[in-house]
């Protein structure tokens, strides 16, 4: 009706709008959540002089509460590593439900090759294999873990590429298989007491280091390599990708292998951080990893999303978790609040997208 719509049916290229990346919105949402916790902390009567993000007790050199900053990212780093792989799977138009149980299975297997012989001078009470498996070089468990991840991911990918069953079903089957492997490996008994070099992999802030390092690698790979371009192409329009000469089957197998290797690596870091492997490890990790990616703007219909978004999505999780403890939210309500926040985040993103696409 107005003048601007004349001749173009309302379609108008707006450079400003195009240049506004989705990641910035998530970043602002992150800041908003921090501010909400900060305000809650100042207003709730039982909080006395504490601040969520700032150092109000002169414990650190900087103005920030450094311990808080560290835990916010530390507690999401391991699931974050899984989310990096899940992001690629979702961008390629798939889904991976097997990552959580894969973490459990990989942790059990890997830890069996990372045990130390003597614990405080006593023989290891949790030995899985015989003497030969004690005090092996740290590279061996890592290789075993990554190989196992590649194997499981390869099966996932091959099933999806060749039998054309939906990724949801293929990886759901693998979900059960991996949980079964985790339990069968030692018949449910935990495996503990790794070598010092293995324990160093996930010590202190190491999980954060691995997460950020792998995030940078994945970001570069997705954005600047042919692998990344093909991943987006397949997720946007599989037929078009095939017709333009991309070997879609081979590529899908690669994507699932990479995702499972990342999950396996997360299992290595998790078991190292905790100095133990348990068959129940990784419960709900697949869902949290998917949620991180989705909050970060990765579209479940494929073809859209980024590693930066997923990293920010992980940070949102970290802030919320830390914030709940900070305001001492009753444990009974935390899950509900978490679920509501996930839904709200995705609804907001959807609204914003719909508005964006109807305007542009």
């Amino acid at each position: 009706m107005s003048d601007t719509s004349h001749g173009t049916g309302g379609l108008k290229f707006d450079a400003k709008k195009r240049a506004w990346p989705n990641e910035l919105n998530i970043f602002f949402a992150l800041i908003l959540i921090v501010v909400i916790f900060e305000i809650l902390g100042q207003t709730l009567p039982y909080m006395n002089d504490q601040s969520f993000l700032f150092d109000t007790r002169d414990r650190f050199d900087s103005i920030f509460n450094e311990a808080r900053l560290r835990i916010i990212i530390l507690q999401v780093s391991i699931i974050g590593i899984i989310a990096l792989g899940v992001t690629q799977v979702i961008i390629s138009g798939g889904i991976d439900l097997s990552s959580g149980p894969l973490v459990g299975a990989t942790a059990m297997i890997v830890m069996s090759f990372a045990q130390t012989e003597l614990v405080n001078g006593n023989p290891n009470p949790k030995a899985v294999f015989g003497d030969w498996a004690f005090d092996l070089p740290v590279l061996l468990p890592i290789i075993v873990g990554l190989a196992f991840g590649a194997f499981i991911g390869g099966i996932n990918g091959a099933l999806i590429a060749f039998t054309r069953i939906p990724p949801f079903i293929a990886t759901l089957g693998m979900f059960l298989i991996c949980r079964g492997i985790a339990q069968a490996w030692t018949r449910g008994k935990p495996v503990s007491f790794p070598t010092e070099s293995y324990a160093a992999l996930g010590k202190g802030m190491m999980p954060v280091f691995w997460f950020l390092l792998l995030a940078v690698v994945c970001h570069v790979v997705l954005k600047y390599t042919l692998y990344g371009k093909h991943t987006y192409a397949i997720g946007s329009n599989e037929d078009a990708a095939r017709m333009s000469g991309i070997n879609v089957k081979r590529h899908k197998i690669r994507v699932y292998m990479i995702a499972s290797m990342l999950a396996a690596f997360a299992a290595i870091i998790l078991s190292s951080k905790n100095l133990t492997a348990q068959s129940g490890m990784g419960i709900f990790y697949e869902l949290y990893a998917i949620a991180m990616a989705v909050i970060g703007g990765v579209s479940l219909t494929g073809g859209r999303g980024s590693i930066i978004g997923t990293v920010l999505g992980a940070m949102v999780f970290g802030v919320i978790q830390s914030g709940f403890t900070y305001i001492k939210l009753d444990a009974f309500y935390q899950l509900m609040a978490m679920g509501a926040i996930i839904i709200a985040a995705v609804v907001l993103d959807k609204v914003r997208q719909d508005r964006g696409s109807s305007r542009s």
């Binding site: 507690q75 449910g188 007491f193 444990a331």
Partner: protein
Amino acid sequence: MKKILMTAGVSALLATSAMADTIGVSVARFDDNGLTIMRNGMTDYAAANDGVELQVEDAQDDVARQLDQINNFIASGVDAIIVNAVDTNATEAMSNAASAAGVPLVYVNRQPVNMATLPEGQAFVASNEVESGTLAAFHMCQELRAAGKSGGAKAYMLMGQLSNQAAVQRSKDFHDVIGMDMCNFIELIDEQTAEWSRDKAQDLMTNWISSGEPFDAVFGNNDEMAIGAIQAMKAAGISMDDVVVGGVDATPDALVSMQAGEMDVTVFQDLAGQGAGSIVTAMKLAAGEDVDKTVFIPFKLVTPENVADFLN
């Protein structure tokens, strides 16, 4: 050839089960550490005794699946059933099914809600859950007093899954102990769930530490969470001599931690003993003997002084 082998295998199975008591066992979860020790206590006992054959099933934390398993046991004519209940509120239906079929039923480790009205031929084998948290919490209180902190001490509590009876009970025990005159100098700063998990406890403890509030004691509803808290405190540079840390279960990992001077107290629940005890009770019931409605396997307090007795 294959067929002959299979027939031979099946008849061999039938032959062995005909000689011994067959007991069907439904365990709430196969991937739970404590329940695994209990389950191994059962299988070890069965392996050492010719008179019993076990059929152990995983209820996968699913109430409906567990009831199906029990009905399947009844249908296949077992001599007795042992149930480690997924949900202690759902035991009424199990008791009814077993009693209607005339099959003896033993609950193990988790107390059924219909304890007062258990039908004939049914029993409950466990440790008295009230003991565990109370023993640990009271010892922590004594340790804090011995450390000269009776003028005021602050504590955090890591709780298990909030839907779990043991978590609720142990948390209540801790509250009861710090409500006693002798221990009311302990103030609880915060209590949160870490869902029995070492990893979650580590993150939760680090979150607490990041608030900068000084504290003197940490009580975990189980050892795994206490160990997670210890790892977080060590990472933050807190001396383990300054904090009293207590847990429940006396897992091998906890005993090693205690030996290293980190964990201060835990409670040994004789889970393997419960497992074996449940089979003994089930066999007695199957033989028509009289059995007490409740068979208690006692808890034991584990401290650095006697930790060596439990490490073997």
